[in-house]
Symmetry: none
DNA sequence: GACGAGATGACAGCTTGATGACAACGTCGG
DNA sequence: CCGACGTTGTCATCAAGCTGTCATCTCGTC
């Protein structure tokens, strides 16, 4: 198993008992732990303990390493309840194990989502959140749509019709509806001059 | 093509250029990408670029989505060499495409972890069990499907149509059916604010 | 000083989503 | 075959707050 994992370009440390594992975990930082459910407790002991118990202790101690448990088919409840992130039931194909491990490691780097930034403005389009200097702003749908459009064209002058095309569908609103949305946006931006008026043309996202 | 794939109970997002594709790939997580080899680079540009180049970039960036390339007969070496997982030569029957896509998606399901977690939520997709803080929740099929979709996109805003595409097949339900399912889910989550409403957009799995 | 473009504040209609009730449907057990 | 039950879609209702419109005001320009 170690060999197989290594062949997938993973760096593997291999220990044969729980105590050694604990030591290694204190010494190094790992991206992932593969844990057999039945494991000797000490290097020389013959009888095995349930690794799930140890895992629970680890979690209580604050270890947050992703852990994948190798579970036998006839085991009762799998290790999920005690803080494992994944489990594989024996017997399994090594490829599957590798995939799962890679999955776990990759999942680590989660939380990336596309963010539009300008000045101290951050718009997380996936979360639909906007922050100014880190403070969350509660924007309505229209406000969000308009600001999003502006943020994709920073420093560019954007006409009202352009905004209407992009943010309103079908029913063309009255004359100063856009202005009103801009106004509400500006208010929520707490008086910053980020959204500027370009007389006779439209609006522009710009610093001072 | 989009329609055909949808008729095979697949949830499809459709974009017309590489840039949009890139954005979508950052925003959502997909099980599979179908890529035409000749594709405009930006929404408004006329001339096309070879999608294979973009694909290579994606791979270098670490995108691991399975990709199926639609290749013209007279193209030289198909896209396989650059990280595609499959290709189909035009002209092709839609059925073939669907089969290939299903194949790709399924193949991917092998390596996918059966456990989804968020906060104190645990979903074992293999056993069809969901626990909150260790307590088993009795979810119905629909509730499970919706929650599963949310769990694969934690913190991301999910629209109702997206949920319908993913969790309902064929017969489009009425307007507030989704709301109702969310409501029942929330009730079973015992008043936690884990499923949040994002007015005007949809729902989001998020803490606080 | 007149004019027009844009800002502002108030306001009402209406959309949106939450909620509870209920009927249709399928399943299971007797 | 019948009845009980759980699931799921639909409807009516309600409150909240979004959004569009209007009237008025400000400011810069000619």
């Amino acid at each position: 198993m170690t060999a197989a994992l290594r062949s997938a370009a993973l760096a593997v440390d291999d220990v044969g008992d729980l105590m050694s594992a604990d030591v290694q975990l204190s010494v190094n930082s790992y991206d992932c732990v593969v844990l057999d459910r039945r494991l000797p407790e000490r290097p020389d002991s013959v009888d095995t303990v349930d690794a799930v118990v140890a895992l629970r202790e680890w979690r209580e101690k604050g270890r947050e390493v992703p852990v994948l448990i190798l579970s036998a088919l006839d085991d009762e409840r799998p290790g999920l309840l005690s803080g494992a992130d994944d489990y594989v039931i024996k017997p399994f194909k090594v490829d599957v194990l590798i995939l799962r491990v890679l999955n776990l490691v990759r999942r680590r780097g989660v939380g990336r989502s596309p963010v539009l930034r300008y000045d101290d403005l951050e718009m997380d389009t996936a979360r639909r959140e906007v922050r100014r200097a880190g403070v969350l702003l509660g924007l309505t749908a229209k406000e969000f749509a308009v600001l999003e459009y502006l943020l994709t064209r920073p420093e560019h002058v954007v006409t009202r019709t352009e905004l209407i095309d992009a943010c309103w569908d079908g029913d063309v609103p009255g004359s100063n509806t856009v202005d009103q949305t801009i106004r509400r946006l500006r208010r929520k931006l707490h008086g910053s001059q980020l959204i500027q008026t370009v007389p006779g043309h439209g609006y522009r996202l710009s610093r001072e």
